[in-house]
Amino acid sequence: MEIINIIGIYNDPDDLVKGVKKVKEEGIAIKNVFSPFPVHGLAEILGLETRMPLLTFLYGVFGASITFAFLYWTSVVSYPLKFGGKPLNSLSFIIIMFVLVIFVAVLFTFLTFFIRQKIGPGKKAVMLDPRTMDDKFAIVIEKDPAFTPEQVLKISHILKENGAVEVNEEVQPEDYKEERDE
């Protein structure tokens, strides 16, 4: 089935934030917001959150425990080799653990970003408006088939009122698969 999007184009990040706020206040569901750079305050307004900090912490804990387990097993259990009268379970394991916590946490955080964002080599980028990569900002609202012409007009009016320089209605490409931003 064909999906039609109403796309409001903005020139300025502050106008975009204002527009998003207004559209949300009117109770209209926003599908996606595009910007050429991270616009601060947008995530809060859209109610977006990420659990990546918690995950990174867990990766760090995992990295520390697995490293310690490995060092303990190799040095104390598998092949205990006493030299210089030093303890087998050595305090200097901390250095390797410190480094490998960073290694594990960084690598897994990086992978988590790609897995959660569902991007990776070979993914085709389908842009609703390629100008949003350069200097335009866009609010995308999906046109519900149940919308009356008055409602559509009202949405376009709200967008225009709050700084949108253009409001376009476009058919969504079939292979467009972005997560909703709200």
């Binding site: 300025d12 859209l46 290694f103 946490a105 990086f110």
Partner: protein
């Protein structure tokens, strides 16, 4: 909270968002690279070829082709290794300053500094591998189940810590660099005209489109990885210094080594970044992005670090005397300040602790030619610092009967020059195929920090 106006306008010229991309991408979108690019590239290829000959000789004939001997067992290879790792530190240091201290003025520098880090760490990594002598047995350094017991690595050895630290450092800086690069590669993809270019950048940009959720995740990932990389700035070179400090050789066995090495690393890294930024600013006409103010600020930091270097040198000498250790005093007073290697010692002092003091003068901070020359001098001086540390301490230790001198051979020089060729070649490819300044971050600071705002809102 962080929107102070201390730094003033960061990007002058009242640029629009579209203009930023045009300005930054012009070297990348030019039909062919400029003439100097080809000249430098052929020079770099020549250097790399010389290096490949050196590596081939080292691998096929062994370490005997080097000037190292039973006493001076570490020569050019370890000097170059420490030198390259140190240069790599600036990228991470810059990014951490930028991210964790919200120093947004560094935005236009971090991309280059991080690219430099990745390349420098790759160059550094070549030397320990070569120094093994039997490079085909290099995998012995990894703890893998084997039929010898299984006999594991010695996890209390600084040499193993080095392996872990450098691998982690390379991976972290590459990941950190790339994750910030994705939106810019997507930008190049959207602008690309030729089919091949579009394909390649589409593959590299991983299908990035720039939704609000994407940006939130990307920014969070950058902050998390940056925060994790912050301790690496301190830890990597501390671990490198422990290769020396955990031994009993006079001149090495000191507790000052970890901070001394870290400060030295940041110093030489900043010098290399400054060298590169002066070049980039000039040849790519990025004067509005890398302003005089940027270079001035880096120069001020370098005066500060240079005084630290002076303090470290003075502390070493003082502690050698104060310890009343016969061998320590001999190493420092008879074999560094005076003696066969006095020239290297004084080159180190003059170029790291004295010449950078010229940065106190505003006239010099405004003169790019002099600044460029000083940064080169600093990098040479930092090379001599490692030379002094490694060669003097090893050449004359406890027993006069085992004293020896060290003269690098042409093979060792070839290895060193070869890595320089790899470094320059890598940078040239970076200049040609990757946006040199982060566009998404520059656009992000454009409105807050330039005069674009007043003009636009004047019309409302």
């Amino acid at each position: 909270m962080y929107k102070t106006s201390v730094r003033g306008i960061l990007i002058p010229g009242n640029k629009s968002y579209g203009q930023v991309a045009n300005d930054i991408l012009h070297p990348l979108e030019a039909k062919s690279p400029p003439l100097w690019w080809y000249i430098v590239a052929s020079l770099a290829i020549g250097m790399t070829g010389f290096g490949i000959w050196g590596i081939y000789t080292t691998v096929t004939q062994g370490i005997g082709t080097w000037g190292v001997n039973n006493n001076v067992g570490w020569g050019m290879a370890i000097i170059s290794f420490v030198w390259w790792i140190a240069i790599g530190h600036a990228g991470t240091a810059f990014s951490i300053f930028l991210l964790l201290m919200r120093q947004r003025w560094l935005t236009s520098i971090t991309r280059t500094a991080e690219a430099m880090t990745v390349l420098a760490v790759i160059c550094a990594g070549i030397f320990p591998l070569l120094h093994m002598g039997r490079i085909w047995n290099g995998f012995f350094i990894l703890p893998y189940p084997n039929t010898r017991g299984p006999l594991w690595d010695n996890f209390n050895s600084p040499l193993f810590w080095d392996v872990a630290a450098i691998t982690t450092y390379l991976m972290t800086s590459a990941v950190f660099w790339y994750i910030a690069l994705i939106p810019d590669l997507a930008m190049v993809r959207e602008r690309a005209v030729s089919k091949v270019k579009k394909r390649v950048y589409a593959l590299l940009s991983f299908g990035w489109v720039g939704t609000a959720r994407g940006w939130l995740r990307q920014e969070t990932a950058i902050i998390l990885i940056g925060g994790l990389a912050a301790p690496l700035v301190v830890s990597v070179h501390s671990i490198v210094s422990m290769d020396f400090a955990t031994s009993v050789i006079p001149g090495w066995h000191t507790t000052i080594f970890p901070p001394y090495f870290v400060i030295g690393a940041i110093f030489s890294g900043f010098a290399m970044v400054m060298t590169l930024m002066i070049i980039i600013r000039h040849v790519f006409r990025y004067k509005d992005y890398v302003t005089q103010g940027h270079l001035d600020a880096i120069a001020r930091i370098m005066v500060f670090i240079s005084m630290f270097m002076g303090l470290a040198y003075a502390t070493e000498l003082f502690i050698a005397w104060y310890s009343a250790g016969e061998y320590e005093i001999f190493t420092f007073m008879k074999n560094r300040v005076t003696g066969a290697y006095y020239a290297a010692f004084w080159i180190m002092i003059v170029s790291n602790a004295i010449i950078p003091q010229f940065f106190w003068f505003k006239k010099i901070r405004n003169n790019l030619v002099i600044m460029f020359i000083i940064t080169i001098i600093i990098n040479v001086g930092m090379w001599f610092e490692r030379y002094v540390i490694i060669v003097t301490s090893l050449s004359k230790d406890f027993l006069p009967s085992s004293w020896a001198s060290y003269h690098p051979t042409v093979v060792e020089w070839a290895n060193y020059i070869g890595t320089m060729g790899i470094f320059i070649l890598g940078l040239l490819f970076f200049f040609r195929y990757i946006p040199i300044i982060s566009m998404s971050e520059t656009k992000g600071i454009l409105k807050e920090t330039s005069n674009i705002k007043e003009e636009k809102h004047g019309n409302h």
